[in-house]
């Protein structure tokens, strides 16, 4: 693109974009600063400050040391990891089968899948089905729930269609079966779409709170987002610290609830922040580097 002078309009646009971006940057960094602040000084921290007041890990110690939070964190991790692995496995297997040429029944299966993609099942019925298959209050309900996203399945199919036939034909002549073709040729060649789709599955699993709050009823099976909702939205701070801890630890009497809340939000954001560079690298590669995204 030709070189341009710095003009007033461009300066205004830069200012506007900076302001918009700051409305995202400041609150998120401020939360982290609040979580890392010393409980005694945290009330001094204004909403726009980016640096902790004093420095202390006590908020994280209290939050992570709370058995309810620790348990919820492990549950969330289990659902996210097991869910993403199974989702990727069955999405890619289904995509592999459905891109086979001349597969009998392919069209009716695709129509079936598209109707399923569009027609949302009733929440009451979903609850009853989970109950009928005895997965109510089991983490597996959330692992299996929305296991295959038909939209991602179609994206995966588009990608697999582009794998040249010559690659699979040669293996077929050598007597390779479909399972071998899938594991030895298709999976290694699909690393990029698998990682990309896996990120989206993982983020969805990690962030899910509504269905988790319905399907998982007992405290030992609660997940982080549901717990976080209790603290942040319903302002129920008793569960945050736990009554037993309050008696055990005098320090807690001096803790600042806003800082504890911030620490919990940060704990819920950390896995997302860890996945985020991978998402940027894979999904937005073209747009970020200024190349054409296909």
């Amino acid at each position: 693109m030709p070189a341009r002078r710095i003009t007033w309009s461009k300066a205004l646009i830069a200012l506007f974009l900076s302001l918009v971006t700051l409305t995202m940057f400041i609150p998120i960094v401020n939360l982290i600063a609040r979580a890392l602040s010393n409980p005694g000084q945290v009330h001094l921290l204004r909403g726009y400050e980016l640096w902790p007041r004093g420095f202390s890990l006590i908020n994280f110690q209290v939050v992570l040391g709370n058995p309810i939070v620790g348990r919820a964190l492990l549950n969330s991790l289990f659902i996210t990891i097991a869910g993403t692995v199974l989702s990727l496995l069955f999405t890619s297997i289904a995509a592999y089968v459905l891109v086979q040429k001349n597969l009998v029944g392919k069209t009716p299966i695709m129509i079936f899948l598209i109707i399923i993609m569009i027609f949302e099942p009733g929440i009451v019925q979903e609850y009853m089905v989970v109950k009928d298959i005895h997965l109510l209050d089991s983490l597996w309900a959330m692992v299996l729930y929305r296991m295959i996203n038909v939209y991602y399945l179609i994206i995966m199919m588009r990608f697999l269609e582009d794998i040249p036939d010559s690659l699979t034909e040669a293996a077929k002549i050598d007597g390779a079966g479909h399972l071998t073709l899938y594991t030895r040729i298709v999976v290694p060649l699909s690393r990029i779409p698998l990682v990309t789709i896996g990120m989206f599955y993982a983020v969805a699993k990690w962030n899910e709170f509504f269905k988790s709050s319905i399907f998982l009823s007992s405290p030992k099976n609660t997940v982080l987002q549901v717990l976080l909702r209790q603290f942040v939205v319903e302002q129920d701070t008793t569960a945050l610290v736990g009554a037993s801890d309050l008696l055990k630890n005098n320090n807690i009497a001096q803790l600042d609830f806003s800082a504890l809340k911030a620490a919990t939000i940060v704990v819920a954001m950390v896995p997302i922040l860890m996945l985020y560079p991978v998402i940027l690298k894979h999904y937005t590669r073209g747009v970020m580097d200024g190349g054409v995204k296909e």
């Binding site: 030709p2 003009t7 309009s9 646009i13 830069a14 974009l17 918009v20 409305t23 995202m24 400041i26 609150p27 998120i28 401020n30 939360l31 909403g47 069955f90 297997i93 289904a94 089968v97 459905l98 086979q100 009998v104 993609m117 569009i118 027609f119 949302e120 099942p121 009733g122 929440i123 009451v124 019925q125 609850y127 089905v129 298959i133 296991m147 295959i148 479909h178 983020v203 990690w206 962030n207 709170f209 509504f210 319905i214 942040v232 939205v233 809340k261 939000i265 819920a268 954001m269 997302i272 985020y276 998402i279 940027l280 073209g286 747009v287 970020m288 580097d289 200024g290 054409v292 995204k293």
Partner: protein, 300 residues
């Protein structure tokens, strides 16, 4: 009728069908079964024995309930506000970002603005509660600076829908601008050069060259959004709801949840849900085919 040749083909491909079997089982259990169960909308629920067929009784009850009218209206108003007012934001965002060549500024804006898309509505609500807090929130600090009174937007009936709108824009503007940014980058460099030789200024280049390249994604996205008008954003509403504003943001999804799972009015809630799912199906299918026809791109 399946011919002999087809049967033989199925037999040779039996490994493929076996591989597909767990996937089909998943769809049957988690989708077909609950969808079939929605016939409950036409039945009286019985704990013991068979449900009793009652025809459209629950639909008549539903459409006779004033609350349902309000809930439907809320759903359509919130969706329509998002559809019309949020729609141009990612486009403008992409156009503005395009004014900056690849470099630190552009990358920084992208990295920060794509992030909120990946945060859960619980986390976003936590951030926005701070943001809008009447005592310490940044928005009210600003209002006070200009001599206005601090306001609690989250418990104000007249402002809560705007809070939904603003937080949705905040969450999605960066991420949703990607598709437009990609379309802008598809503009051939020779077009810019030609425009430059003709002495076009920046504004002319944007309106005559860049913008026309965005018409097709614009039309596609707008049409497809219409298909989802029955979804006003359950996760978002659940997190911003409170007793002072519920009458303005109670949507079909929250109503179904409340009536079905909290009040145990299974058949009634299912009737509301079926109404929503059915309209949704018709809308998504028709907008898909309309978009496919106009822009050759559909929802899938």
């Amino acid at each position: 009728m399946i011919g002999n040749g087809k049967l033989r083909k199925i037999w040779t491909d039996k490994a493929l069908y076996l591989m597909l079997l767990p996937c089909i089982a998943y769809f049957v259990i988690f989708h077909v079964w609950p969808i079939a169960g929605m016939k409950l909308a036409f039945y009286d629920y019985r704990i013991i024995g068979n449900d009793v067929y009652v025809g459209f009784k629950y639909f008549k009850e539903l459409f006779g309930t004033p609350i349902f009218g309000q809930v439907l209206r809320n759903t359509l108003i919130i969706s329509a506000m998002k559809m019309v007012l949020i729609f141009p934001i990612p486009i403008l965002f992409a156009l503005m970002l395009n004014e900056f060549a690849n470099g630190k500024f552009r990358k920084a804006v992208q990295i920060v603005s794509y992030l909120p898309h990946f945060l859960s509505w619980v986390v976003i609500a936590g951030i926005w509660f701070e943001f809008l807090s009447p005592t310490t929130g940044a928005v009210n600090e600003l209002l006070k600076l200009f001599g206005f009174h601090a306001q609690d937007f989250l418990t104000d009936k007249d402002s809560i829908r705007w809070v939904l709108l603003a937080s949705e824009a905040w969450r999605s503007m960066g991420w949703d601008s990607i598709i437009f940014l990609a379309a802008i980058m598809g503009v051939s460099p020779s077009l810019y050069e030609a425009a430059h030789l003709d002495g076009a200024n920046r504004w002319q280049i944007v309106t005559r060259i860049v913008l026309p390249h965005l018409y097709i994604p614009m039309v596609t996205i707008f049409i497809l959004n219409v298909g989802f008008i029955m979804n006003a954003g359950l996760d978002q509403v659940l997190n911003f709801a409170n007793s002072s504003v519920n009458s303005r943001i109670d949507i079909i999804d929250t109503y179904v949840y409340r009536m079905g799972l909290l009040n145990n009015q299974y058949s009634f809630a299912t009737a509301a849900n079926l109404f929503k799912s059915f309209i949704g199906l018709v809308l998504v299918l028709s907008t898909h085919f309309l978009s496919k026809r106009l822009t050759s791109k559909g929802a899938w």
